[in-house]
């Protein structure tokens, strides 16, 4: 037993030393969880890309998961297991699928009962599959690719909505908002980044918008990073569309919105689907003028939930923004804790069964009743948000709304 412990921490130490300072931090955080393995606690793998290109999102995700764990443990742990604490084993996917799968191997060897996280679709696709080999239940935190839950993996669960549901909701809500204002918007320019996310979305929009009565005037692709958006904004200005739909990541989204403001290009609305910055408190704080009235269909928390607002305050007190990675991971850990409670066991098969039969309620998300079909929570749905009064308001669906759409946006 002691030899086993020794070899694990030595291997971990060697790996950390080789991977440099950033992983050393991860190594030292993860090590105590192995040494503590002797007691009754339930082990939970918390897997995020905390280093590399996705490190910001990964660190936010880890924050949400650990805050939920601390809260659950402080409230007496899993009661059906005699108040067992949930013991996190933190892992770093290093922003790559391979990094993710090697962490799954380690977590499996360490005997975790369940894993939460992954963040990026590409990582989730790999890690869920790796976990499936060990019948290890896996709760995907973000990863919106629909293929994550359509491969028939019995161990994989996603509490949040997938891309198909988000895109459909976004288009339905766009029509609803436009109709509600007397159909002022007829023409669209799409600005998208040229990798899978942006191009895929642009293709979908080009197919779906014309039948709904919108004419797509131009579809402009750009690489990530793009240094300068002035030429793109010139093109938008020339096309003079009613709507601009950006599909890109945070930095480019902000640059585009700022350049549009600078060049006095003000369409009737800027409307995004999973927009990089559209529903980001950081963007609203840094550039309130550029962010004003931007609408987005994205993951969001239930603004009417007192628990959600309390959590938001807690996160902000730590000097962090309340981003979707935080509350999605917070919620996923809650879902797992509920499953453990009902399973009354740390056994993987029993936890999987409990997750599959989950009807968890009392969470902070604006979702319908929890019900898993093929691992996808059928209640999961995105929200439409709009930047109003230096804040982000939910404008649709109505039952969770704390604001009304302002459309077309005032000049």
């Amino acid at each position: 037993m002691s030899e086993h412990k020794l070899s694990l921490s030595r291997r971990r130490f060697l790996a950390s030393a080789a991977l440099g300072t950033a992983s050393v931090a991860t190594g030292t955080i993860a090590m105590p969880s192995i040494l503590r393995a002797a007691g009754a606690p339930v082990k939970l793998g918390v897997l995020h890309p905390v280093t590399g290109a996705l490190s910001y999102s990964g660190q936010q995700g880890r924050l949400g998961a650990t805050m939920a764990l601390e809260e659950i443990n402080a409230a007496g742990g899993i009661k059906s297991l005699g108040g067992a604490k949930i013991d996190p084993m933190l892992g770093d996917a290093q922003s790559t699928p391979e990094g993710g799968t090697s962490e799954v191997e380690k977590m499996n060897a360490a005997g975790v009962s369940c894993i939460v996280g992954g963040y990026a679709s590409s990582i989730c696709l790999a890690t869920t599959q790796a976990a499936a080999r060990y019948d290890l239940p896996y709760v995907v935190d973000v990863g919106v690719a629909d293929s994550i839950v359509t491969r028939g993996l019995k161990n994989t669960f996603r509490f949040g909505p997938g891309f198909g549901v988000i895109a459909k909701t976004a288009l339905d809500n766009l029509v609803a908002i436009n109709d509600g204002a007397g159909k002022p918007a007829k023409t669209v320019v799409i600005v998208h980044e040229d990798s899978l996310f942006g191009s895929g979305l642009a293709k979908l929009l080009n197919a779906q918008l014309p039948p709904k009565g919108f004419q797509v005037l131009d579809t402009i692709a750009h690489p990530t990073p793009t240094r300068d958006f002035n030429t793109i904004v010139l093109k938008i200005k020339a096309a003079n569309p009613d709507l601009v739909i950006p599909a890109n990541y945070y930095n480019e989204y902000v640059l585009l919105a700022r350049t549009m403001l600078q060049q006095h290009v003000r369409p009737k609305a800027i409307y995004s689907i999973l927009g990089g910055a559209a529903s980001s408190y950081k963007f609203v704080k840094d550039f309130p003028d550029a962010a004003k009235y931007i609408m987005d269909c994205n993951h969001w928390f239930n603004p009417l939930s007192a628990k959600a607002q309390a959590l938001k305050k807690q996160v902000e007190a730590k000097g962090q923004f309340f981003t979707y990675e935080v509350y999605l991971n917070y919620s996923c850990v809650g879902l797992i804790a509920d499953a453990l409670e009902r399973a009354a066991s740390a056994d993987r098969a029993k936890v999987t069964a409990a997750l599959a039969g989950s009807t968890w309620s009392g969470h902070i998300m604006p979702y319908g009743p929890t019900k898993f079909v093929n691992g996808q929570n059928q209640g999961a749905a995105p929200c439409n948000t709009q930047v109003q009064d230096n804040d982000i308001k939910v404008i649709l669906p109505k039952e969770f709304a704390n604001g009304k759409p302002i459309f077309p946006m005032p000049a």
Partner: protein, 290 residues
């Protein structure tokens, strides 16, 4: 569909962006012209300077354009020290070693920045970022106009230093004939370090011009340095005038090809021009007068 006014706007926009490319390229070309090494740490130093400009504004409320007055000498000292105490001694007189040392420096600087500042993107919002000159068909934002002007001032200053001061004469002598310069009593190690310092000072100024309209994260500088490499080769390695003209040309080509081919494909325009110039004038546009 494209009206003439858009074409004019695209040219103006290209010139404004190109000036910033030129400024980054000025530092690079100077270092190449004298030390005959491609400074791979240029991008990382640019990023570091952008962080410096960012924190000067956030912590002390120093306007980025004012910060340039402080950052230029500060980065001159940093550049001088890097060359004098790290790049020079570790290369043991072999230029190829210098190249590898700068590559190593880039890795160290970038990762140190990542470790300290995480991967967050940081931006600043200046009160006058939205004001500027309205030409009717195009709006010229003040930060970009200032950037354009400062580039010319810096290029002129560099030209003045190189042609009218003792150290400038020494730099040119070392660039032309290192051994000969050493024989007539020029301290080559000092000249190398001064050149590296001047190149790094350019980066310090460029960072101050970039930060009002761009963002900074630990890899932000690289987006500009790749273009700057192209500018240096296009203009002629080691030529100040070449870097200036090359930068402006690249800016306009990029703007035009992005207008006609789209932003993704538009990057091709830069490299097509690059290859054509290399075929027709292998030394670059102004390569002869290094």
């Amino acid at each position: 569909m494209l009206s003439p006014s858009i074409l004019v706007a695209a040219i103006v926009n290209g010139l404004l962006t190109g000036a910033l490319y030129a400024l980054v390229a000025l530092g690079l070309t100077l270092i190449y012209g004298v030390l005959h090494i491609i400074n791979f740490a240029h991008g990382a130093l640019l990023t570091a300077a952008m962080f410096a400009a960012y924190f000067a504004y956030r912590w002390f409320g120093i306007d980025p354009y004012l910060a340039a007055v402080v950052l230029a000498p500060a980065f001159f000292v940093i550049g001088y020290a890097l060359q004098r105490f790290i790049v020079g001694p570790t290369s043991h007189g072999d230029d190829r070693n210098m190249l590898l040392v700068t590559l190593g420096l880039a890795v160290v600087i970038e990762n140190a920045l990542l470790f300290v500042f995480r991967a967050d993107t940081r931006t600043i919002d200046l009160s006058y970022a939205l004001s500027g000159v309205d030409l009717g068909f195009a709006f010229l934002p003040l930060p970009r106009l200032i950037g354009f002007g400062v580039t010319f001032v810096v290029a002129f200053a560099l030209w003045l230093i190189l042609s009218a001061t003792d150290i400038g004469h020494a730099i040119r002598a070392v660039a032309k004939e290192k051994l000969g310069a050493e024989l007539v009593g020029i301290d080559v190690a000092h000249v190398y370090a001064v050149t590296f310092g001047l190149g790094t000072a350019c980066v310090g100024i460029a960072a101050c011009l970039l930060i009002p309209s761009y963002y900074v994260n630990p890899s932000a500088g690289n987006a500009f340095v790749l273009v700057a490499f192209t500018v240096v080769v296009l203009g002629g390695m080691g030529s100040v005038l070449g870097a200036l003209i090359g930068g402006l040309a690249i800016g306009v080509v990029e703007s035009f090809s992005s207008l006609f081919l789209g932003e993704s494909l538009g990057q091709i325009g830069i490299f097509v021009l690059f290859i054509v110039v290399l075929l027709v004038r292998p030394n670059g546009l102004f390569g002869a007068q290094a």
